[in-house]
Assembly symmetry: C2
Homo-oligomer: 185 residues x 2
DNA sequence: TCACTAAGGCAAATTATTTGCTTTTGTACG
DNA sequence: CGTACAAAAGCAAATAATTTGCCTTAGTGA
């Protein structure tokens, strides 16, 4: 009795998934995190609690699933100027989103689930986005930091601060990028 | 009705806390994370469940509390050679501990609690340890990276990898340190 | 169209959580 | 010392969440 990762669109399973995800998003926006329960979600989604339990296991897994799907990027990062400028703009927005109340909560949800899959997925999204900048720079024949550099020295510090400390400011992000770029000459 | 952060030693409150913490540690070592419940912990600690609920609120808070107290360093990092060598040895052990099954789980527990206090505490411990290397270097008149540098470019990448990806190898840590030190000339 | 199967609904049984009230125990003060 | 006070623990009833067995529904493919 395994549930499909990606249910066929239009089927009943997909409708249930959509309704449940939507309920969770609504509830996260309107009520306190601690008051969200599976029976409540089920009621709002017009679904039986046991359906949710069987499909997701527990609240943490469900929240992690919803969070990961919300973190999936819509498309390629905007192209406004040089790869470096593009990266700066993107990274600032990324930091803002993650540092916001909702973003922080999504990160937490993803990390607290027993299943690591969603965390990996989320990190994968980020790497995909970063890869775009690298490709653009290569096309223009410009030097650019490698993916590892960007993950280790731009993304990681931002996320660490958000998780353990407090929000990174906007010029903090720019400093990180400046440092990582300065080694590329 | 507030509970003291640090109950007076020897009192009943302290005994209960110790018994509960011990039960949690035992259970974490012997059974699957998902099977640990508050009633079980209470039983093993010879305590009523309601005591735990009133004191910690829920399982996540309790686990976060236990994890944070396990992460408190025993003393100053070992002094084996130059500050850099000391840092390398310490960071490698740090990475190993955090990347182990237990370490990972502790990180998760700390981050999934609603209360941020434990996460901050944990980050504070790390910073205290790092400050020791900086002081030692200063005493010897040697150049050494600032605390922010170390947090951003050594600790953050290690933790990010552990949380989102997979364990960082031993030479990965050394590379991070080499990079951070190379900018100090 | 029909049979098959994955997934959802229902309801009873089990477990966990909350809460009001009582009891214990450490502490401060006379 | 002993007594009063308050913080924290115990107990048990009430409530809420979770699990599970069995049945029904709705997509899928022959």
């Amino acid at each position: 009795m395994g549930y499909r990762e990606n249910p066929r669109p239009g089927g009943r399973s997909a409708r249930v998934q959509a309704a449940v995800h939507q309920s969770v998003r609504d509830m996260l926006a309107t009520m306190d995190r601690a008051d969200i329960t599976i029976p409540l979600i089920a009621q709002r989604a017009n679904v039986t609690p046991s359906t949710i339990y069987r499909r997701w296991g527990d609240l943490q897994e469900l929240l992690a699933d919803v969070a990961a799907s919300r973190l999936r990027p819509e498309g390629d990062p905007a192209k406004i100027g040089s790869p470096r400028e593009d990266l700066e703009a993107w990274a600032e927005q990324y930091a803002d989103e993650m540092a916001s109340g909702v973003g922080r909560q999504m990160l937490r949800d993803i990390l607290s689930a027993a299943d690591v899959a969603n965390a990996e997925k989320c990190s994968g999204y980020t790497q995909q986005q970063l890869a775009v900048f690298i490709t653009r720079a290569k096309e223009r024949g410009e030097p650019f930091p490698a993916l590892t550099e960007l993950m280790d020295h731009v993304i990681s510090p931002i996320i660490y601060r958000i998780l353990f400390d407090q929000a990174p400011g906007p010029d903090y992000v720019r400093k990180l990028i400046a440092k990582v770029m300065s080694k590329e000459r």
